[in-house]
Subunit: 453 residues, 2 copies
């Protein structure tokens, strides 16, 4: 049986009881982290602009957008959730394949669950299945696919959304094959867009397109029978080298959710070791910024490829600059959402340190490592080396830290009471009668925060 048919058989045949409890528990953590990112990003200008441009094309407003007061049809809602959840570069990542797996997947699921009755157990199962399928397809094509310039989060995220929605609407095996095919043939998103709003558009469109793929398949709209493995299919077209066996080996035994990670800092994950080194130095030595003469970084090659940008003028540029990451963390001892704003970019103290920071890549350094070397005006030199920063698989964020991360992101939009309700609902999501309650808990109340919008 071809890989597409195996995955379709697996997803359509899966029972909730097939999912081990630790995987189910990790799904709850991923969903909670996702919701925080979606609410935190929901007030971003990029989301406002999509509402302005495409809102007028929305169908019946049956779904709530996470973190906002507007309602749209579920497909537009999926798009908007996707933009919100990725726009701050704060959402989860599977470091093995650089996929941000929850954004395209959960954005479609919450849009669907807002407009339709979905129980918590159905929701979590669909999430786990979608997560698994998109992760396996991503791992099969990584790293060639990513190196070619594809934004793997959207190109494989569309499969996650298609399979998850397809499971909820009860696709047959043949329909699931078509849904996977319609996902494959809509897969898109180029890394050339990094540093612009279009980056966050990618997982949004993937969520919307995956949802549409499942809807079309249910109606009987046909696609190719070998979309993943065929000679002109997803693998052949979108990667120079790929390993089809990774799509299906060990289904029901290995689970991609076990290798999911949550970001403590809202920027590319390979910059995190540098940030942690800078924060340690700040916290341990209290070096006044004016004493710093130069900062030299030795980092993994991926860091300069992803965060080597030099001309830093805006917030979205700053996330692509390892110099900014190091400088702002050295100056402020933290690297939260406020450290990647236009204001932080133009902070004269940060700017000076950023401009005296240089980075050199070293093939001996892994993605999880960074070496920070700071020269002071008095001639002293300070060093920090980080191997496996906070937020990686070895040092995962705790449940409490994830809740705190959500709280910080949601606090500009929601009242404390709303956040408490949301966290309670999240913690028991797989027992909820209707996941729509979670979505409702993210909608700002008109009276609570008059400053919002």
């Amino acid at each position: 049986m071809s890989e597409t048919w195996q995955l379709a058989s697996w997803a359509t045949g899966a029972r909730g009881t097939d999912i081990p409890s630790d995987v189910r528990s990790e799904a709850r953590r991923a969903i909670l982290d996702y919701l925080g990112c979606a609410i935190g990003g929901s007030t971003h200008t990029a989301v406002d602009l999509v509402v302005r441009a495409l809102g007028p094309f929305s169908g019946n407003a049956t779904a709530d957008v996470l973190g906002r007061r507007e309602r749209f049809d579920p497909l537009h809602t999926a798009l908007l959730n996707g933009v919100s959840s990725h726009v701050n570069d704060f959402d989860d990542i599977t470091p093995d394949n650089y996929v941000h797996p929850s954004a395209p997947l959960a954005s479609a699921l919450f849009a669907y669950a807002s407009a339709n009755h979905v129980s918590g157990s159905e929701f979590v199962q669909a999430f786990v299945l979608g997560f698994e399928v998109e992760s396996r397809i991503g791992s099969a094509l990584f790293p060639s696919h990513y190196d070619m310039g594809w934004h793997i989060t959207s190109t494989v995220g569309v499969f996650g959304a298609a399979v998850a929605i397809g499971k909820l609407i009860g696709l047959s095996r043949q329909q699931m094959v078509w849904a996977i095919g319609l996902a494959a043939t809509q897969a898109s998103g180029q890394r050339e867009m990094f540093g612009s709003m279009a980056k966050a558009f990618h997982p949004g469109r993937a969520a919307q397109n995956g949802y549409a793929a499942a809807s079309l398949a249910r109606a009987g709209f046909t696609a190719g029978q070998r979309p993943l493995e065929g000679p002109r299919g997803f693998g052949a077209v979108m990667a120079k080298a790929f390993d089809l066996s990774a799509m299906t080996a060990g289904l029901n035994e290995t689970w991609a959710l076990r290798r999911n990670t949550y970001k403590p800092f809202p920027c590319v994950h390979v910059s995190h070791p540098t940030i942690e080194a800078a924060i340690r130095l700040h916290d341990e030595l209290h070096v006044a910024p004016q004493l710093i003469r130069a900062v030299r970084l030795r980092v993994a090659p991926s860091v300069l490829e992803l965060c080597g940008r030099g001309d830093i003028e805006t917030a979205s540029h700053s996330k692509l600059s390892i110099s900014h990451c190091a400088a702002v963390a050295l100056v402020r001892g933290r690297a939260g959402l406020r450290e990647f704003t236009d204001s932080a970019v133009n902070d004269p103290v940060v700017k000076r340190i950023r401009e005296c920071t240089s980075a050199e890549s070293d093939v001996e350094i892994e993605d999880r490592q960074a070496h920070l070397h700071v020269e002071l005006v008095d001639g002293r030199a300070l060093d920090r080396f980080v191997d496996g920063p906070f937020g990686t698989l070895e040092r995962p964020m705790t449940d409490q830290q994830l809740e705190q991360k959500l709280r910080e992101q949601a606090s500009t939009t929601l009242s404390d009471q709303q956040i408490d309700d949301l966290l309670t609902n999240c913690s028991r999501i797989d027992t909820l009668d209707d996941v729509g309650a979670v979505v409702k808990a993210t909608v700002p109340r008109p009276d609570a925060h008059p400053i919002w919008r």
Copy 2:
């Protein structure tokens, strides 16, 4: 100035008077041919299924779908027009790059013009500009891009739609760059889908996505600044080899419309020489099918790559089978829409000839050539060689033949009077005050054709 900026400057700065009269005239022919294909395809099951699956998500129904009675929002209308216009494989093609240029482009334009006031001269100008941009991008990446497995009609069609709609809504140069970027990063469509409904979905989605790209850009939604030429951009990601200079060389001097062709037969263009050879043999010698023992074809390599399918069970398979093309044309002396139906596929006489037909590829044979060799039961052998069939640049369809092609496709849906009105409007489209009149002329009247649907 980069290629993206050059194209954006050219399109935003263009005046109607820049377009030579022969190009304008060819645009009218392309639009007429497009309309016939869209109306002819509008009753196809694939279109019904998209209506059923995605119609419920439509926004305010401000636009008429060509050839149908339903109205949807303009984005869904663009999608549906795109599916209709390509679903019969009857739409125009630029043989230099295998792009079907009008389907994604005109599908967006007619959707926009149905919901908004657009004069004929604005419409034709936008059509010419979109046609030029998508053709140039296609030629820059062809053949590598197509050979990799990309359905070039949709992957470059999205640029045509974005630029054409962008021109109509008055994008600035920066906004047009963003629109091109948002088109690039949504480009999708894999040849693995050929033989399924998803093939026709491609230009539909391209029309819809290009339209959305222009709408987002107008709102200020940003994209990368070098989407075509950047190191992770459209060219680098989607082709192994490409020639950026083809995107911009000779703008305002060479015009892609001058090399556009219209199909006399509703199937892949490289099968046309074979079909013409078979029809000639049928018409000249009146060979009874039962006298045919074997049919041997010598064809260009592209024919077997595109139409080498063996297991022919459905109408959509039949278009990918050079054996079916030869057989049905030998038996019936024609190859119109009725020759590529389930009924034609299962016609026992056609089936027998198809099964005794073999094809061999020959690198000496060009796309425009085919050799047909028929062996009769009495031992005689008959041959026909075609070099440059009807419908190619050398032997283009006349205006009258294009009108007849539209008439045949529209006659199952529209009354003769409606068709006459439509042809009149088409012939003077660039002088119309409002192109919406053309769209209205394609909508079937409730009383005229009760057999419809």
